[in-house]
Symmetry: C2
Subunit: 136 residues, 2 copies
C-alpha cells in the first residue's frame, strides 16, 4: 500500500492546525462557519470500515477532543459532525460549529453558501488561537 498523502482538494481548501495521533486536524478556509476537518492518516481509507476498530476508536475520541477543546472558543449552538466524501473520497470528518444565526441554519452547510475565504490576518489569528487549544 502506498504511503498516506493528503488529498490535493482537501489541501487546497484547508490549513493545517495540528497533527493528532491518528488525524491531521485542519481549518477549512471558509469564514462563514468555524469549520474543521479531521483526516485520518490511513492510506486508501474512504469508509469507516476501512479503518481498524482501534483506529475508529481513536478517530471518535479525536473528534470529541476537538469539540471539547474548542467549545469555549466557539460556544456553538450545535456541533455538526459528518463523514460524507461524495466529492473527495479520502476519508475525512467535518466538525463544524453551528449557530442559530449562521448562513445555512438549520440546514447542513454543504452547497448552501459560497465559501468566504479568511483574510490572511484572520487566518493567522484564528489558527494561532486554535493551535494553542488543540495542543495537549
Amino acid at each position: 500500500m502506498n504511503a498516506w498523502q493528503l488529498d490535493p482538494q482537501l489541501a487546497n481548501d484547508s490549513q493545517p492546525l495540528h497533527s493528532a495521533a491518528l488525524c491531521d486536524i485542519r481549518l477549512m478556509d471558509d469564514a462563514n462557519y468555524p469549520w474543521l476537518i479531521l483526516v485520518p492518516r490511513v492510506a486508501g481509507a474512504s469508509e469507516l470500515f476501512d479503518l481498524s476498530a482501534s483506529q475508529r476508536r481513536t478517530l471518535i475520541e479525536e473528534i470529541a477532543q476537538v469539540e471539547t477543546a474548542l467549545q469555549g472558543v466557539f460556544r456553538p449552538d450545535k456541533w455538526n459532525v459528518a463523514a460524507l466524501g461524495n466529492a473527495v473520497a479520502q476519508l475525512h470528518v467535518h466538525v463544524i460549529a453551528r449557530y442559530h444565526n449562521d448562513p445555512a441554519w438549520p440546514l447542513p452547510v454543504w452547497g448552501r453558501t459560497q465559501a468566504r475565504p479568511y483574510t490572511p490576518e484572520q487566518l493567522s489569528e484564528r489558527s494561532r488561537v486554535l493551535i494553542a487549544r488543540l495542543q495537549p
Copy 2:
C-alpha cells in the same frame, strides 16, 4: 436523570429495525435513499461529548457494523455518516447509502428532496431484509 425516550420527531420519521447494545437502529421512511439512523439510548445526550468514551467507542463500532452488514444489500457508491441535530437535538447518527444517480448526489441529502414515504408493502419487505442482516 430521566430515563431515555426516543424523540417524538425521530419516532414519527422512522421505523424500528434492531436494538443494538447502545443504539436503536431505525429506517427513515424516505424511499429516495436507503437511510438509517442510530440513536444511542443515553438520556440527555445531544453531542458526542455527552457520551462516555466507552459509549463513543460502541457507537462508532455500531455504525461500522451497520455499514458492513448492509454493504451487500445496498452496494452504495458511498456511505454518508452524520450527527447533525440542528432540527432534533437528541443525539442520532444518520447512515445513508448514496449513489451517483440518487436525487441529491453529490450533495448531502438534507433539504434537497421531499421525503417519499415507502408503501406499506415496500416498508414491510425492506424492514424484513434489513432486520435479518442486522441481527447478530
